[in-house]
Assembly symmetry: C2
């Protein structure tokens, strides 16, 4: 068991060792004692007492996958959970993979900090074996809320600095993907390449800004506009960009939804894509790129696959088998060329 | 506690009474025995044995709202959960109301019958205090799956005949609303009024067909086409209708999403709405009616309010307080007139 999930609490292993019984026997006693001979029950009970082992649900969760359920926590309010296709796609991968493990997915989201206490209680109440959390924000107490619940967790997306580094995460190569997008625009001969970024409190957005700056070291800060990953914010940022820098001839947009909003503004302003302004998105979200005009060139990340990977890492944490230490995974990205750039 | 939620299982109260201890003491013993003197622990253990009390989570759930969580089960696959705004709106009402009760919402959905066994185990495992289930289908075993879990439940939408009539539900006046929609079309002088219905295995769809037939007793069966509540199925049904009955001059569509698909086909065929064909939907789904051309006349139901009501009924079941027997609720509908009819 990794350090993060056990902490200073005495483990069942310690109880078994002190009682001189197998872990399975100790587990049976802690779970009610059925089928265990009385002297052994007594030994385990004494060890439990001496060590101060707390046989509550949360602790027992660590022993086995006894609840058969995994919480998926989206750190966004309900309206975003249901409107951003990114979440649907990630949840789809998670859902399919959990089904393969015969584990029940229970979906939770977070309207605001007022929900933290309740979510922490639920997670720590022995109702789920572990949690997968994504769309974390750096000013958000959610990671520590989840840690308090003392259940194994895997993050989707690299958490902000300050989060327990022992918690594994799955992310894509945000910075590398952004670099490829911007290099593509440079290769098309674009001189004034803007970037519409995601929110400053998410590492994926920050990494993509870094990728943009890696290629355009001396880009005018006026070419950088911030959105919040919603379609509307992409439209707003594009309008502001055109007002400030009408000479913009290329835009790398930090996700496809915002790119879709940006394309709408370019159309409304009578600008041709890609002739006047070339546009590259990020995600390769089927439900978005299929309906944009023109079709969107974008950086593909395997969102569904990342969801599956999160489940695999969590299951390894839960089973605790084998010598492999669960590690974080950065998956590759690739540029998908369509008409917009 | 209503009959449906307790059944023949021995209660903790019975254990306490037999052991001659308080319920709190019995509860502490069942939960591990910390802080209880050994002779009392022994008494309670004996009572548990004699009564065959099963100190599992499920049984304990019945005692109080101890889990602090409620399952919301949408009987649809994940792609519909995330794409039909009806679900988002109902979940929003439920979410807000559960927050007021400081209960954690956990969302589950059903890809297919293969999920039933796992869901039943989860629901019966003592992880939630109750369940709200909606979008039930008549050929679906889900209601009995939920009943097996022996937790209080409230349905969204009247369940199919054969479902335990003691389970309360919240629905809108589907039949009355449909009648009003069709009467409105008749009032506009339309002679060949078609109906695009929802799936035959959902009572809401069937009730709306009945409402249509209440007004148009001798309607040509060729004027009735079936969809499945998705936008695409509404488009397909409208195309078929126009091929069979090019004289159609009014359509009552069983939900707004399908109506949006129907409007698209009418536009593609060069037909004017409402001049050539008047269209009335059902739901008054803001995210849909706002983007149709022309704006959609529709039957409004208070989806968010129905979600809130489901929570209130469930909480009454859980608290079991007062003489009021939880009953089902049919909420009224109203016609909202816009440009399409």
């Amino acid at each position: 068991m990794p350090e993060q999930t056990t902490g200073p609490r005495p483990t069942l292993e310690a109880v078994a060792s002190r009682a001189g019984v197998s872990r399975a026997t100790a587990s049976r006693v802690v779970n009610g004692g059925a089928g265990v001979r009385a002297p052994l029950v007594e030994k385990v009970r004494r060890a439990v007492e001496e060590l101060g082992y707390v046989p509550n649900h949360a602790a027992r969760t660590l022993v086995t996958r006894r609840n058969g359920a995994v919480a998926v926590i989206i750190a966004e309010p309900e309206f975003r959970v249901f409107s951003d296709p990114f979440f649907e796609q990630q949840v789809r991968g998670i859902s399919r993979e959990l089904t393969a493990y015969d584990a029940q997915l229970v979906l939770l989201w977070v309207e605001g900090p007022g929900d933290h206490e309740r979510i922490s209680r639920y997670l720590g109440g022995g109702h789920v074996d572990g949690a997968l959390a994504f769309s974390l924000h750096s000013d958000d107490a959610l990671p520590s809320v989840i840690e308090r619940a003392r259940i194994p967790v895997v993050f989707g997306g690299r958490p902000a600095p300050g989060t327990d580094p022992a918690v594994p995460f799955v992310d894509c190569d945000n910075r590398g993907g952004a670099r490829e997008a911007v290099r593509h625009l440079v290769g098309l001969g674009r001189r004034n390449i803007a970037h519409i970024s995601g929110p400053a409190d998410q590492t994926s957005a920050i990494d993509r800004i870094h990728g943009y700056r890696d290629v355009l070291l001396d880009a005018d800060p006026g070419l950088l506009r911030r959105g919040d990953f919603t379609e509307e914010s992409g439209a707003r940022a594009m309008a502001e960009l055109l007002d400030r820098r009408p000479d913009v001839d290329g835009v790398f947009v930090a996700n496809d939804l915002m790119a879709s909003g940006a394309l709408r503004i370019l159309r409304e302003r009578g600008l041709r894509v890609p002739e006047d302004v070339a546009v590259v998105g990020f995600d390769d979200m089927v439900s978005v790129v299929e309906r944009t005009t023109p079709a969107l060139t974008t950086v593909r990340q395997d969102i569904e696959g990342m969801g599956r990977l999160m489940v695999k890492l969590l299951m390894r944490l839960l089973d605790g088998t084998g010598p492999e230490v669960p590690a974080s995974v950065i998956t590759p990205t690739s540029l998908v060329r369509r008409a917009s750039a």
